[in-house]
């Protein structure tokens, strides 16, 4: 039935056989994780955000589910550090799947150092995490200031040759930050990260996370993420990877119509059957394109702005 429909898409110069990747932070810290993500059927593997040194992250609880099909996480950027990058990239190469290394840092030099290791290891691209909402100094603090965004993206883009994606979160200035990221040399934008939130247990009267803050993800943030993608695409027409509450072909299609060239999935891999999810989305997108009378997914990217 879906013969002749082409889901091939392009992001930051990478050719992807379909638009569905994992989002950073869902596994992605070890070669075994990469293998598992590969089995989930993603078109590219995105690593956990890597910082220069090993980070143990926050103490558990690190993730809780919330009513409304959401997750709240306060993982605290636990990651193996740069020494973890080469084994991941090697495994991806072995599996013949594009790999994007997510890069974190608390200052410009750290971003450069980690991104350089990614490049040396053979990563296909890096995604700069400028938007983690629950790790002080490592995320949204940077991303909500357009000038910081420019500085980091510019510094990394001028140091490495592989494509740079900038991952931004919800902020008043997100469209401005997006513009600055592109100006700084980002080939594509990943939108959005989790949204800063708090959960309190009403019996112990304590915040659930020791660190108090968590990042909200999944279905609850989907309409917010679509809004950010819509606004950034409308203003700047860049290549966008849409993230936030993608959990089926419909939510993926919505992201694509709003302006995404590809999508990433985090929460749905946890709350749904991760082994079927990508397959179901890919098949659903094919049938959808047929229903719309389109031959390939590229025609659907940003279509809402054109109609």
């Amino acid at each position: 039935m879906s013969v002749g429909v082409d889901l091939t898409t392009y992001v930051a110069g990478l050719k992807l056989k379909h638009p569905v990747m994992n989002s950073s932070g869902i596994l992605g810290s070890t070669p075994e994780h990469v293998e598992r993500l590969f089995k989930y059927g993603v078109s590219a593997v995105v690593s956990k955000t890597m910082t220069k040194g090993f980070r143990v992250g926050h103490e558990p609880p690190i993730i809780i589910a919330l009513e409304g099909e959401g997750l709240l996480n306060s993982v605290g950027l636990a990651n193996p550090g740069i020494s973890g990058i080469p084994p991941i990239v090697r495994k991806a190469k072995e599996l013949n799947i594009p790999v994007i290394v997510s890069v974190g840092g608390s200052e410009v030099q750290e971003f450069i150092d980690v991104a350089s290791v990614a490049e040396e290891s053979g990563a296909d691209a890096v995604e700069l995490n400028l938007s983690c909402p629950h790790t002080k100094g490592y995320g949204i603090d940077i991303g909500s200031d357009p000038n910081n965004v420019y500085e980091v993206v510019k510094a990394v883009s001028s140091t490495i040759k592989i494509p740079v994606l900038a991952k931004l979160g919800l902020s008043d200035n997100v469209v401005k930050s997006a513009g600055k990221a592109l100006e700084g040399g980002a080939k594509a934008l990943t939108l959005i990260n989790t949204v800063k939130s708090v959960a309190i247990d009403v019996f112990s009267c304590k915040p659930v996370f020791k660190n108090v803050y968590g990042g909200l993800s999944g279905t609850p943030i989907h309409p917010i993420a679509v809004r950010v993608v819509y606004d950034v695409y409308k203003e700047l027409k860049p290549e966008i990877v849409g993230v936030g509450g993608v959990s089926d072909w419909k939510t993926a299609a919505e992201m694509i119509l709003a302006g995404s060239s590809a999508v990433q999935i985090g929460t749905a891999f946890i709350l749904k059957d991760s082994r079927k999810l990508v397959h179901d989305i890919v098949e659903g997108l094919k049938e959808w394109l047929i229903k719309l009378g389109l031959k390939n997914i590229c025609e659907a990217i940003g279509l809402t702005h054109k109609a």
């Binding site: 932070g25 869902i26 596994l27 992605g28 810290s29 070890t30 075994e32 994780h33 293998e35 598992r36 089995k39 956990k48 992250g57 103490e59 558990p60 609880p61 690190i62 993730i63 809780i64 589910a65 919330l66 009513e67 099909e69 997750l71 996480n73 993982v75 636990a78 959960a199 247990d201 009403v202 019996f203 112990s204 304590k206 659930v208 020791k210 891999f269 946890i270 709350l271 749904k272 059957d273 991760s274 082994r275």
Partner: protein, 297 residues
């Protein structure tokens, strides 16, 4: 050693329906059920007592009973102790409206748990993981349960569920020294079960390792299933036991479980890509051999 595993695989091949069912078990029925399991459900501590040196038992009453439905033996909960930690603990027993855990005081989390008084509140995330499906064990057959140290924690609920399925259990419980032992009948008053204890320092019961005692029993009696719970070395050596006949080997593993939801990857059972928190903690020996064969604890 790999030869041994292959033999086990062959034995497994004979029961392909079981293998299939096992795989099936790996996927939780509906995503909404999964979702509900992942919510943090408040519970009130009812009692919290020392059973022996290092081992404690805590009983909790969830504010809503729902999370007590359909809990399988060897499933676990992430137990959140407010302001201190969240740790994985296997279900030790269930009543109409309470759930119990047996735990060994190790570090900060378990210490904080042991300090909770009745009336304190905790949060429970679960049931998590795949439990042991007692209905797959041949009725009227016998099961051998081998527990090392705090591996005894899930045994009471496992025995209870096996009994309901008309499977009688023998338990081998191995510890370093008799101070760790408590009378299993304290937590299992009604069940007809034989408990064989083993101590490494020969201070009580069988003198030696639980796995050695288990092998002796396997030679003496006929069991349809062996379930081993405890430190990796015990599991590794039991999975290597070579036996003829249809004995099924299961092991319940431990790993560092930080999220319990298959997200963080901390519980990956290297060198496989299996995650203990969603694919385990119970596995058939043959399905996890690469991990067991890799050294370490």
């Amino acid at each position: 050693m790999s030869k041994v595993f292959e033999d086990v695989d062959v034995a497994v091949g004979k029961c392909s329906h079981i293998t299939h069912s096992l795989n099936h078990r790996a996927s939780i029925n509906t995503s909404s059920e999964r979702f509900h399991n992942y919510l943090l459900k408040p519970a009130e501590v009812v009692s919290n007592k020392r059973l022996s040196e290092g081992l404690w038992r805590v009983e909790m009453r969830p504010i809503s009973r729902e999370c007590l439905n359909d809990v399988k033996p060897l499933q676990f909960f992430m137990v959140w102790i407010p302001s201190s930690d969240e740790i994985p603990l296997s279900v030790s027993d269930l009543t109409e409206d309470t759930i119990s855990f047996i735990y060994k005081v190790r570090g900060l989390g378990t210490k904080a748990l042991s300090a909770l008084r009745p009336g304190s509140f905790v949060g429970l995330k679960g049931p998590l993981g795949n439990g042991f499906e007692v209905s797959y064990v041949r009725p009227s057959s016998k099961a051998l349960i081998v527990a090392g140290g705090s591996g005894i924690a899930p045994v009471p609920y496992l025995i209870k569920k096996l009994a309901v399925a008309n499977v009688q259990a023998d338990v081998v419980w191995g510890v370093k020294s008799d101070a760790e032992l408590f009378n299993l009948r304290e937590v299992l008053p009604d069940l007809d079960v034989r408990v064989f204890t083993a101590t490494e320092d020969c201070s009580a019961g069988y003198c030696g390792l639980a796995s050695q005692l288990a092998v002796e029993l396997l030679n003496e009696y006929v069991y349809s299933v062996l379930i081993a719970i405890g430190p990796k070395p015990i599991l590794r050596s039991l999975c290597s036991v070579r036996l003829s006949g249809g004995l099924e080997f299961y092991v319940a593993l431990e790993a560092v479980v930080k999220c319990g939801l298959g997200a963080c990857g901390s519980c990956v059972l290297e060198p496989t890509d299996k995650l203990l928190c969603v694919d385990g903690p119970v596995f058939r020996c043959g399905d996890i051999k690469e991990h067991l064969m890799k050294g370490g604890n």
